[in-house]
């Protein structure tokens, strides 16, 4: 259930902030920022990190010329340094009906907490954060901004969001891949019930656009264990179709299908250098972000 406005900031998990707030979370790929930041840029710049020597070409900024080399060799060389820039993070939240499943909180509520916490952490280190909500009624996009007030905007936007309707994730991922102009960190929160091939295409599209992609695979404990003691009618959260079955009879086969699906998604992630994180709704936000954070801090 969405939080009341007065409690919206509860979406930010304080335990996770306390745990990961000290270290900057860096991108794994060069980013294109508009201001200086903690992240590697695809451009050469004036940071303390030496990059390379390069022959001067007329027209280039003579301030970057290495005068000591010129004095020794009478040759014009430019001394280049790594550029460090800020990061544009684009959390994309799948708001299809299937995300309303889960306990003690459903997948979408859990995702909101993950997004709010990450937003807080990225804004605090000077990065820009946007938001894309993929809903059956239409997509909501918040452009990325570094302004601290962006946190409130994002939380308010998330607070008003409910999971309902059909799953339009794949189409929207393709659209987002095109619409995000500069390189950014695309963090997708979904249960990924799509066909693996379609998902692979969408991720490839993202990667082709030089975005770093991170998947947070939202799952519920019930879906993983599938423990039911008597006949059950399962009703589809996205379409109303139902199936009456004896869970004990199909459990093994179900778990096998589930495992196969997850392993296919993981394989796609490996192929596309995409980070994959499994998030169970009964876990704490800090636990889920632990792996994410550990891969991105310098220490």
């Amino acid at each position: 259930m969405p939080l009341q406005e007065s409690k919206s900031f509860d979406y930010v998990d304080k335990q996770a902030v306390a745990r990961f707030g000290g270290e900057a979370m860096l991108g794994n790929f060069p980013m294109e920022g508009n201001v200086s930041g903690h992240h590697k840029s695809n451009h050469k710049g004036s940071s303390v990190e030496f990059s390379e020597y390069r022959e001067y070409t007329p027209g280039e900024d003579p301030r970057r010329m290495d005068w000591r080399v010129l004095a020794r060799t009478d040759r014009y060389f430019l001394k280049e340094f790594e550029a460090e820039t800020n990061l544009r993070a684009y959390p994309i939240l799948d708001c299809s009906g299937s995300m309303s499943f889960g306990s003690p909180m459903n997948k979408i509520e859990f995702s909101k907490r993950l997004i709010a916490t990450l937003t807080y952490l990225y804004l605090r280190q000077g990065d820009a954060v946007g938001l894309t909500l993929i809903k059956s009624s239409g997509t909501t996009d918040l452009p990325s901004r570094r302004n601290p007030s962006q946190l409130q905007d994002i939380i308010q936007t998330l607070g008003a969001t409910k999971a309902e309707g059909k799953d339009l994730l794949i189409n929207q991922l393709h659209r987002s891949a095109d619409s995000i102009k500069s390189r950014g960190l695309v963090i997708i929160f979904s249960d990924f019930l799509e066909e693996p091939d379609a998902l692979a295409n969408a991720i490839h599209h993202m990667r082709d656009r030089k975005h770093e992609v991170v998947l947070f695979h939202l799952m519920d404990r019930k879906e993983i264990d599938f423990l039911f003691d008597r006949p059950t009618r399962f009703i589809d959260l996205e379409g109303g179709a139902s199936i009456l079955t004896e869970p004990s009879v199909i459990r093994n086969e179900y778990l096998s299908q589930m495992e196969k699906h997850i392993s296919e998604i993981q394989k796609i992630c490996t192929e596309t250098q995409t980070s994959y994180h499994r998030a169970l709704t009964d876990q704490s936000v800090a636990n889920v972000l632990k792996d994410f954070s550990s891969l991105r801090t310098r220490t």
């Binding site: 309303s100 009618r233 589809d236 009879v249 199909i250 179900y254």
Partner: protein, 648 residues
């Protein structure tokens, strides 16, 4: 297959319980909103082959396990064929019952309050249910005639009591079975199931006498090569207290009659036994000192105030078999005993003539006979001495076989003059101044018994100088050297008494009369009391041939073929009693019978301890095994499969 507890078959409905529970579970299903429906559909599709089969097999196992339990509780019996699983067995054209209706079948069975006869009928009903489409035929031992039944319930109909009710008769099972097989043969019956129900009393089989008949049964069964299957069902009587009574003789002396009664008990005890004496319908109680296993009791019954001819019924209190508790007598019959003499030795002729004429009111001495005389058969007792021609010997043998009594004396000259009746030892003569003495005789019963006041016959005065000892028959008195003085031999229905010496001066002092005369008188009396005119066997040939018999002791509709009692025939009273051999409680050893009835198509079963089933035919254990198998199968089907099996 049929069932001993068919009511339990109502429980077959319980077999639907697993299905109902399954359906109820489906109806009581929970609803769950679900996200990963795609995998559910795929899982159901993939598992719908093997898992669905497993599910239905599990359900089927449960249903069959419950069904087996219900069938087990219904106590199924397989009465046909060698095996329950013998599917090739054909439905018999005829299901035949050979029913022993002898008096002993009226004992209470060991497991219920029903008589053996009633239990046998229930067993036949169960037996017949196995083949509902077969014709039912019954042949019982009294009439040995075929009775066709429209339906099985007929055996319980009141009007069929004449054929299925209790009787006081004996039985000859071998004869009745033979009759049954003859009927099957004449009717050209292909397939037949024959159930022989009996308590297997020895007197109903008489194996040595009936050996030819039993061999014939065996031959017939073998000839049919299994088309006729015979099942012998033995029904055990209870071991509860039972006394049985039978009359041996009736001696009348003036206003008193002395019936000699034998009372048997099946419990080891000594007690006073109440006996009811019914004289011409007036009952008076008496008491008998009974000592197990059997006691001979001779009460003195006064008939001083009774009509000169009448009847007496002696009965014991009711116990576990009521049919062996009474015996009927008639007294005062005016029929004279017809006595004849066929002798060569003059002194013998004289003493026997005189002895026979001592009681002219009871004995009619017809005088000396010519051996060729056709009237020989019209006598009740014959004194025979000397050698006979073959023709005479044949007549004498026939006379004895039909119930006559012969008192036989040795011939003076010929070694073995009456070979058909007796086998004599060579002549022995005592040495000078010595004689043969009779020292041992049966003082307690028979013709040498002590007198009513306890005095013994004066054998010590008897001197024998010449003797030819008889070697056949039961010795009743012995010489000091152990040789036989007199024997009693039964031939057919008659008796032959054989003296070893002649009442002649050079042979013995028998002619003095102090031993011979009392013995002759006793033989005459025994002849009178055993006369077939005054007492017959119930169900015997006389009961079927004598006409216009009216019961004096029971219903006017009763007849002596099946019911013991006193009947009036042309103004003369005749007692019909249970056959003497029914008094013998010995049971035929199955092994003895099997020695003769060796056919593999004859099966031997015994009534079960409760109910009236065929013990070996019960197949509840088969269903118990089935139930266990189904339960194990259900458990195995419930074990989760390995992944490899799932993927397959």
């Amino acid at each position: 297959m049929s069932f001993l507890q068919p009511i339990a078959l109502l429980g077959i409905a319980l077999a639907a319980t697993p299905i109902l529970i399954h359906l109820l579970n489906l109806m009581r299903h929970r609803k769950e909103s679900w996200a990963t429906m795609r995998f559910l559909f795929q899982a159901k599709k993939s598992s719908s082959r093997f898992s669905q089969i497993r599910k239905w097999l599990t359900l089927l196992s449960r249903v069959l396990a419950v069904l087996s339990l219900v069938l087990l509780m219904a106590r199924p019996i397989s009465t046909g064929g060698e095996s329950f699983l013998n599917l090739s067995e054909q439905t018999p054209d005829i299901v035949m019952l050979i029913l022993d209706r002898s008096s002993s079948m009226n004992q209470i069975s060991s497991t219920s309050s029903k008589t053996l006869l009633q239990k046998g009928l229930v067993a036949f009903e169960e037996f017949a249910k196995t083949w509902p489409d077969s014709r039912l035929v019954v042949m019982e031992t009294v009439f040995s005639e075929t009775i066709a039944l429209d339906n099985i319930e007929t055996i319980y109909a009141k009007e069929m009591d004449e054929f299925f009710g209790p009787t006081d008769t004996g039985a000859n099972l071998a004869y009745t079975i033979n009759q049954g097989l003859s009927w099957l043969e004449n009717a050209e019956i292909g397939q037949a199931q024959i159930l022989v129900i009996s308590d297997q009393q020895s007197s109903s089989w008489k194996i040595p006498e009936n050996k030819p008949l039993l061999e014939n049964i065996n031959k017939n069964l073998e000839a049919q090569q299994g088309a006729w299957q015979m099942t012998f069902l033995k029904i055990e009587p209870t071991k509860a207290v039972n006394f049985s009574l039978t009359g041996k003789s009736l001696h009348q002396d003036g206003g008193l009659v002395y019936p000699t009664l034998s009372i048997k008990g099946n419990k080891k005890e000594q007690r006073k036994l109440r006996v009811d004496v019914n004289i011409n319908g007036k009952i008076s109680p008496a008491e008998c000192d009974f000592t197990s296993p059997s006691t001979t009791w001779t009460p003195a019954i006064s008939i001083a105030n009774e009509p000169p001819t009448g009847w007496i019924a002696i009965s014991l209190p009711e116990d576990s078999c009521t049919k062996d508790n009474y015996h009927f007598f008639t007294y005062g019959n005016n029929d004279l005993l017809r006595v004849g003499l066929l002798a060569a030795n003059q002194p013998t002729k004289k003493i026997l003539s005189v002895s026979s004429k001592l009681n002219p009111n009871k004995v009619f001495f017809k005088g000396e006979l010519n051996g060729k005389d056709e009237e020989m058969l019209d006598h009740d007792l014959l004194f025979v001495q000397g050698k006979q021609t073959n023709e005479e010997a044949g007549k004498l043998l026939k006379f004895v076989e039909i119930g006559g009594t012969i008192v036989l004396f040795p011939d003076e000259v010929h070694e073995n003059p009456n070979a058909t009746l007796q086998n004599w030892q060579p002549l022995e003569t005592s040495s000078e101044n010595e004689h043969f003495s009779v020292t041992e005789w049966n003082k307690n019963g028979g013709i040498f018994s002590n007198t009513a006041n306890g005095k013994a016959l004066p054998f010590s005065y008897l001197k024998v100088w010449q003797r030819r000892t008889p070697s056949e028959g039961q010795p009743l008195a012995f010489y000091a050297d152990g040789k036989t003085f007199l024997t009693r031999k039964t031939i057919g229905k008659g008796i032959v008494y054989s003296f070893s010496s002649l009442p002649a001066k050079n042979w013995s002092s028998l002619a003095d009369g102090f031993v011979l005369v009392p013995v002759i008188l006793r033989i005459l009396e025994e002849c009178r009391t055993n006369s077939k005119i005054t007492e017959f066997e119930c169900g015997g040939s006389e009961s079927r041939t004598l006409r216009e018999l009216q019961s004096l002791t029971g219903s006017q509709l009763e007849n002596p073929i099946t019911k013991a009692g006193v009947y009036q025939n042309l103004g003369r009273m005749v007692a019909f009693n249970r056959p003497q051999n029914e008094f013998q409680t010995a049971i035929t050893d199955k092994r003895d019978l099997k020695k003769v009835l060796t056919s593999s198509h004859a099966k031997w079963t015994q009534a079960e301890t409760s109910g009236a089933s065929l013990e070996r035919a019960e197949i509840w254990n088969f269903f118990l095994l089935l139930m266990v198998i189904f339960l194990i199968a259900e458990s195995l089907l419930g074990i989760p499969l390995r992944k490899s099996e799932l993927s397959s």
